[in-house]
């Protein structure tokens, strides 16, 4: 990672400033300023992390993990064998088929919101939308419990963002940092100031903040100052987001697609210690031409997904990184008269891999035609509770919105223990 000159200057100045302040009896949390470069290396390898692969619009279970060959609901594609004996998946996923030993597939999702806005909210937060409450997305919760104060990179990053409640009532500290579908940084995240000017301006600002902090001890001001430092440190790590060089090497592993590039970006961020990265792929809402759409969307997605898991595994990161694959809804068993499948939440599929979960597991079952769950239904609450448990976060952890206690997985959710290691 490169480190611009002005940064060295200002770090020395800050070091001086910190010592003086400490001598004056007031200790600010400057520790993080000294380790910009060291951060990546010092990331605790055992720290749990999570990547969410988000299939926006609602990927079809019939064209991925829950084939119904020979049934009227079965569709056009054929099943293929996998490296998990006795388990088949759709022929569109040959690479995932060879990684089934890493996956837990849940074939018995039964959720409560059947439209897109409701489903996107539900499967990002675990909760249905409610008037007057902004629920936090899963990324914000994970940022809060697995994120590190003083890290150079934001703790909640989205690439091609879906879902719009962000940090919700957890507050701006946990807002997502959202990259464009092409991986561009959000507006205002890049300083165009001459580094020398930025550096002297920063020193003047530090002086002003020191003066205020001498007589004002309220923790709000401290948080304000730390957030400013975080915004500044972000300038040092822009190189992490520049993936062209590495992409040339990894293009084949991830597959030459936009989604593949996003997944490589996610791996780089996870490797730097970012605890949560969401990667979006869109256009699954196949009310017409379901099979055409899935033939176009699934192969590059599954290539990238398999490549991501391989890459994580080779770097020793898969066992610490939970990879979640889901959309907001499933699709109807019936194929409509436009060769489409509509929205369906009575029985659909999701998948997990990596940290905390078993590999080579197919949990739950749908009935003969995929119309209903045959056994072991998993609600959205159960699914979120399982994810949090796998990451070592107690699913009953409560936050407050006003006086109302709101656990991170809804009351009454059950962890699916059978899929956890």
């Amino acid at each position: 990672m490169k480190c611009p000159n002005f940064e060295h200057v200002s770090r020395r100045a800050l070091l001086k400033g910190t010592l003086a302040t400490a001598a004056g009896g007031s200790l600010m949390n400057w520790g993080s300023l000294f380790n910009s470069q060291a951060t990546a290396a010092e990331v605790n390898k055992n720290q749990k992390r999570c990547i969410l692969l988000w299939m926006n619009g609602g990927v079809s279970q019939f064209e991925t993990f829950d084939m119904k060959p020979g049934r009227p609901t079965g569709g056009l594609f054929r099943p293929i064998s996998t490296n998990l004996p006795g388990t088949q998946v759709c022929e569109l996923m040959p690479k995932i088929a060879q990684n089934m030993d890493k996956l837990t597939v849940i074939r018995s999702m039964r959720t409560s919101q059947v439209d897109h806005p409701g489903g996107i909210h539900l499967m990002h937060t675990g909760y249905s939308q409610a008037a007057g409450i902004r629920f936090p997305e899963i990324g914000a919760v994970i940022a809060k419990y697995l994120g590190r104060d003083g890290s150079d990179l934001p703790n909640f990053i989205k690439i091609f963002s879906h879902g719009n409640t962000g940090a919700g009532f957890l507050g701006p500290k946990f807002q997502p940092f959202a990259l464009s579908p092409e991986g561009r940084l959000p507006t205002f995240s890049t300083s165009n100031l001459n580094p020398q000017i930025e550096s002297r301006r920063n020193e003047l600002r530090n002086f002003v903040e020191d003066v205020y902090a001498r007589r004002h001890k309220a923790e709000t001001a401290r948080m304000h100052r730390e957030a400013y430092e975080a915004a500044r440190r972000l300038q040092n790590v822009h190189d992490v987001f520049k993936i062209d060089d590495e992409w040339n090497k990894y293009r084949d592993l991830y597959g030459d697609s936009a989604f593949g590039r996003r997944c490589l970006m996610a791996r780089r961020l996870i490797e730097e210690g970012v605890p949560f990265v969401e990667v979006g792929q869109s256009s699954y809402d196949s009310h017409a031409d379901n099979f055409v759409w899935h033939r176009a969307l699934v192969p590059p997605m599954e290539h990238a997904w398999a490549g991501l898991m391989t890459d994580l595994e080779q770097r020793g990161l898969l066992e610490h990184t939970l990879v979640v694959w889901m959309g907001e809804i499933g699709r109807t068993p019936r194929v409509n008269n436009r060769s489409g499948r509509d929205h369906y939440v009575r029985s659909w599929s999701t998948a997990l891999a990596g940290a905390g979960v078993k590999g080579g597991v197919v949990y739950g079952e749908s009935d003969l035609d995929g119309i209903d769950v045959k056994d072991n239904p998993v609600t959205e609450g159960d699914f979120f509770a399982t994810i949090y448990q796998a990451l070592g976060i107690d699913p009953e952890t409560e936050h407050y919105n006003g006086v109302r206690p709101i656990p991170i997985a809804p009351f009454g959710s059950d962890v699916v223990k059978d899929v956890l290691v």
Partner: protein, 562 residues
């Protein structure tokens, strides 16, 4: 909501004893009301003195040394922000700081209370109480009609009980009259309306009782649905268009009930509930006239016209009951809420959870505030005048307290400026409007010019978490650090930058102007020296002046009201 937490469920915490408690509670309120009313009639005591002696008594009892009195500069900035929602101009600051009169603080308060910006700011504060940043309901984000109406209530100083009653009666339409917009948020959701009305106007939390009897408060599901029954017949009607805006009206039908099906956990698919009759909270059932046996009415009100009034309005009955002077919750709730607006936190905190398990920090004082509110006929301007004239309000914000909202009010609170306050204060600090006028620019009709509501709301709209604590966010700094506020930093004539650059004065004086313009105070010697050195470090000060303005605009001292 799905499911409930059985571990939190305490059996039978409601019932008869609570009813008796509540009765005695309202009797004592009425008694105090008479005592205070008599005192007020004699004019022998001011509420500000009651506030100070009650709060001081607790400091004494707990051996707490409060912060010293605020400096004039501290007070000036605080009271401008709290009353007008903006900082004073350079000229206003100098005039106040150099004024030698001993009663200059109370005179300033009187002047600000009569400033038109007072109504503008207070109505924005209440608009947020009533709607929040992301109001539910289609069309509620465009509510100029409501906002104009509410501003008028504050500029006329309409008594609080009267304008709340108007909101609850919801007469007319949302474009011409404004007030009906409140209920547009809760279209076909009588349960949501129940939660909102009881929280916002009565300061009580019924929402737990929506799905199960409240685990530790005397609220039962029948209290909840008894209140919801008042709203069950409301319909949001599209009454036509005007100026490209839909005129919504709140219609009320003659028929229709909420159905109660018991605790959520005992519900079954297809089980039909029992109709629940309207009942006042901890009070009597509503007595309703019978409708003729064969009475029928259409299912929906037709669009494009105002709905007719019902033969008997449940909504109006509730509006009268809520806003009655002897309602046991209403006056306490508003006294506590406005207290919190100025003092940082409620005497009962949070302000919308007045309940027996959440005790007030100063119980006698809260009784007295509520009674005085009634005695002064819900005159909010009078009440605010008393609050900001108190010693407690005028304490310093500096000191050793770490909590941003000290529970015993022994130091002034530190609260983040709202998006609107930041924008208006930045505009004042940089002389943005003066620059616009000097350039003869067309005045903007956009409330959020020149930064725009999109960015302002995204980066500053909700600075707190769900329980009201400030959460320092990365994004507001990215915005400020990387060019977001550049539009305010123009070099136009009459602006701060221009005045600093093209001045004949010594640099020391220019630094004074910089500090007074942005931080509403004169710099210390140390600060003056440091900034003079900054400006004179090279021959050309232009870039450095912009940098220094930016530094003071983005620092913690500016970000908070303290």
């Amino acid at each position: 909501m799905r499911g409930e937490d059985s571990a939190h469920y305490l059996e039978d915490s409601c019932g008869t004893p609570a009813m008796i408690r509540s009765l005695s509670f309202s009797l004592s309120t009425v008694l105090i009301f008479f005592v205070v009313a008599c005192a007020a009639a004699r004019g022998d005591d001011q509420l500000r003195n009651t506030i100070d002696s009650r709060v001081e008594a607790v400091w004494k009892a707990k051996k707490i040394a409060p912060a010293e009195s605020s400096t004039d500069a501290e007070f000036l900035r605080r009271v401008y922000l709290d009353l007008l929602g903006t900082i004073p101009t350079f000229d206003e600051a100098v005039a106040f700081l150099d004024d030698k009169a001993v009663d200059k603080r109370s005179k300033l308060i009187d002047r600000l209370l009569d400033d038109p910006r007072f109504a503008g700011h207070q109505s924005e504060v209440w608009d947020q109480v009533l709607f929040g940043r992301n109001p539910p309901g289609y069309g509620t984000d465009k509510r100029e009609g409501f906002q104009t109406w509410l501003r008028k209530q504050f500029s006329d100083n309409t008594p609080y009980d009267q304008w709340v009653k108007a909101i609850l009666m919801a007469e007319g339409n949302t474009v011409d009259d404004g007030a009906p917009m409140f209920f547009v948020q809760y279209r076909n959701q009588p349960e949501d309306a129940t939660e909102a009305v009881t929280q916002k106007f009565l300061g009580v939390q019924l929402q737990c009782a929506r799905c199960h009897d409240h685990p530790f408060e005397p609220w039962t599901q029948l209290d909840f649905y008894g209140t919801a029954a008042f709203f069950a017949r409301l319909q949001v009607v599209d009454a036509g268009k005007k100026n490209n805006l839909t005129m919504y009206a709140i219609g009320e039908k003659n028929l229709g009930d909420v159905l109660f099906t018991g605790p959520v956990t005992e519900q079954e698919v297809g089980k039909k509930g029992e109709p629940v009759k309207p009942k006042f909270l901890h009070g009597d059932a509503l007595v309703e006239p019978e409708l003729p046996k064969d009475f029928e009415e259409p299912r929906n009100f037709p669009n494009g016209m105002m709905p007719p009034k019902p033969k008997f309005s449940r909504k109006d009955q509730l509006a009268s009951w809520i806003t009655k002077a002897d309602n046991p919750y209403f006056a306490r709730a508003v006294a506590n809420r406005v207290w919190a607006q100025f003092m940082g936190r409620g005497i009962v905190h949070p302000v919308d959870n007045m309940s027996e398990s959440n005790e007030p920090s100063h119980p006698e004082l809260l009784d007295e505030l509520a009674s005085a509110m009634v005695a002064h006929k819900f005159d909010l301007k009078w009440y605010i005048r008393e609050l900001v004239n108190s010693r407690v309000y005028q304490l310093s914000g500096s000191g050793s307290v770490i909590e941003p909202m000290p529970a015993l009010f022994d130091q002034a609170r530190t609260r983040p400026l709202t998006a609107e306050e930041l924008l208006d204060s930045w505009n004042v600090a940089t002389g943005y409007e003066a620059m616009q006028q000097a350039a003869k620019a067309e005045p903007s009709t956009d409330r959020y010019a020149p930064l725009g509501s999109g960015y302002l709301m995204r980066f500053f709209g909700t600075p707190n978490n769900g329980v009201g604590d400030f959460q320092g966010g990365l994004h507001e700094h990215l915005y400020m650090n990387n060019g977001g506020i550049a539009r305010l930093l123009g070099s136009g004539k009459g602006g701060l930058y221009d005045r600093l650059l093209n001045s004949e004065s010594a640099w020391e004086e220019r630094v004074d102007r910089l500090y007074l313009s942005i931080l509403t105070r004169r710099p210390t010697d140390e600060e003056r020296k440091r900034f003079v050195a900054y400006f004179t470090a090279e021959k050309d000060p232009r870039s450095r002046i912009g940098e220094a303005i930016w530094v003071l605009m983005t620092c913690s001292e500016f970000r908070f009201n303290h």
